[in-house]
Amino acid sequence: MFPEDVISELEEIRSHYPHAKAAMMPVLHVAQQQKGWLDQETQAWVADFLSVDPIEVHEVVTFYPMLYATPNGEHVIHVCRTLSCDECGARELWAHLKSKLGVERGGTTSDGKFTLRAAECLASCGTAPAFLVDGERHESLSLDEVDALLESV
């Protein structure tokens, strides 16, 4: 499932906890980084790695918005839509991205390049609007700067 260096990283993570199951979140994050999303096969592998039942992994994966049980585009954009951002540019950013990418909330562009998601407060309310591209935060950008950023990924 994973190359040897990833396996040793996962084993190191597992050693941080008195019970293997507690390594669930960090292990799932590494698996997701590797695979892009957490398909059934990957979830089953994680269950085996942590000596738990597959359903226990599934219960965790389906709870968290940042763990993906379905595939994404090549790049995932999360736009904060909570109050401070919405009042300070996020509504405009959201409308811009929807029309630029031609997708609705949660949708993936036809070329498979971008998935557009809404997020709740990203703890960047003072530098609104805040958004993530592949998990990295960007703040206070103009729409032109956003366009340039998306060109560059």
Binding site: E120, C121, C125
Partner: protein
């Protein structure tokens, strides 16, 4: 009380390489920790007493005395004791812990070391929300540098003290900031909040005694142990002393994080350090303590000082110190709808009043905002809230009700206007 800015927690935020151990050590960083584990700062019991005397209260939102919480750990237990640091920071309007983990992670890591010594813990987990990609890298690097310097591990510096510090990563769920949900998130089970009692100090992580503290709370510990309880309790309002990182967002010219002693005038913060209202607009409302606190009107903002006893007199709270400033153009019905969507989305679904009630609130607000509001909707919202509040496992549901009820009561005219403008049923 005059507004007194400080530069204690934020002293290095703007420095080059502020997050590197060399920068931290150049300012005397880790000296207090090393003295502490050698026993030079007193016994663990004395350290707990010191923190209690300092008046430090939790900075995660509930504002409970930190030293008091530590003193609830069972004495002489042979079970392992854990420290969990809460860096889930997801309360809308709050972005201070992020500054610490990104710009001064060593301050937090030293705080973890000293706290573990004081409470008798040998393992600590720093829980960070996964959206803090940069912060996670910085805290992991800081921990690695501290190990390399010989500050963590077994028999640290020959003192016999053992300590391991790890980072745990969340999955984008606000509820995991609730302390018992956080414990379940670490244990690798679905993170439903737990019933209390038992309290985590008695039965926490893996069933063992556990202390959970906010990032900013722990970042204060090196300063308090270094400078003493009296030094800290001398700041700010005598009944709620200290210095806090206040986050200001919304319609001001200069939003950001400001380190200020408690007890200052909220109006002065907006007019002074925040540079006044954006575009010269008038103030309409302030949500003063993160989205779960009750809204304040302009006349209240003009009078209130930012300390617990005073803001309580205005029926609100300091919460997580997330101050959201809203100007005259803000549609308050839309604003509260935005927040209620947040709570409905983040409800873990464990308790019926919260799981069913929060989407119902959103449904009513949706119809008010789309020209289908009814005259009875305002009372229905208040009634719903009164049936939710105090009837759930955790405080998420209460936190949804407080902004809702205060906004419905104080801005009823805006709701009325929406109803009056609504298309009557049956009209074409």
């Amino acid at each position: 009380m005059a507004l007194k800015m400080q530069s204690i927690l934020s002293a290095r935020f703007d420095k080059e390489n502020s997050y590197h151990i060399d920068t931290y050590r150049a300012d005397g960083g880790y000296e207090t920790y090393l003295e502490t584990i050698k026993g030079e700062k007193g016994t663990p019991e004395e350290l707990v007493a010191l923190v209690k005397e300092s008046g430090l209260k939790g900075r995660g939102g509930a504002g409970f005395s930190t030293g008091m919480k530590w003193s609830f750990l069972p004495k002489g237990t042979d079970k392992p004791i854990y420290l969990c640091v809460n860096g889930d920071e997801s309360e809308p309007g709050t972005f201070k812990d992020r500054q610490i983990v990104e710009f001064d992670p060593h301050q937090l890591v030293e705080g973890v070391g000293i706290t573990c010594y004081a409470i008798g813990a040998h393992t600590a987990y720093i829980y960070l929300r996964c959206e803090f990609a940069l912060g996670i890298r910085r805290v992991k690097d800081a921990i690695r540098q501290a190990y390399e310097a010989g500050f963590f591990g077994k028999d640290i510096q020959g003192t016999g003290f053992d300590l391991d510090v790890h980072v745990h990563i969340g999955g984008g769920a606000y509820i995991c900031g609730e302390e018992t949900s956080l414990l379940n998130s670490i244990e690798g089970v679905r993170p439903y909040p737990r019933n209390k009692p038992p309290f985590p100090a008695v039965e926490g992580l893996f069933g063992d005694p556990t202390i959970i503290n906010n990032v900013e709370t722990i970042a204060n510990i090196p300063h308090i142990v270094k400078n003493g309880a009296e030094w800290y309790s001398g700041f700010g309002h005598p009944e709620d002393p200290g210095v806090r990182l206040w986050c200001v967002s919304g319609h001001v010219n200069n939003p950001g994080v400001f380190e200020i002693e408690t007890g200052f005038s909220l109006q002065e913060l907006i007019d002074g350090p925040c540079g006044g209202m954006k575009n010269g607009k008038k103030l309409k409302a302030v949500i003063p303590g993160g989205s779960s606190s009750k809204v304040l009107m302009p006349d209240e903002v003009a009078q209130v000082t930012m300390d617990t006893p005073t803001i309580r007199g205005f029926d609100s709270s300091l919460g997580s110190a997330g101050i959201i400033v809203l100007d005259e153009d803000t549609d308050m019905v839309e604003a509260v709808r935005n927040l209620m969507k947040f709570y409905a989305h983040e409800s873990c679904g464990q308790c019926t009043p919260c799981r069913e009630g929060t989407p119902w609130i959103v449904k009513i607000l949706n119809r008010l905002c789309t020209g289908k509001g009814r005259q009875e909707d305002m009372d229905l919202l208040l009634d719903l809230a009164s049936n939710i509040e105090g009837r759930t496992v955790c405080a998420l549901a209460d936190g949804a009700c407080w902004p809702l009820t205060s906004i419905v009561k104080k801005f009823r005219h805006e709701f009325e206007a929406k109803v009056a403008a609504a298309t009557p049923v049956g009209a074409s």
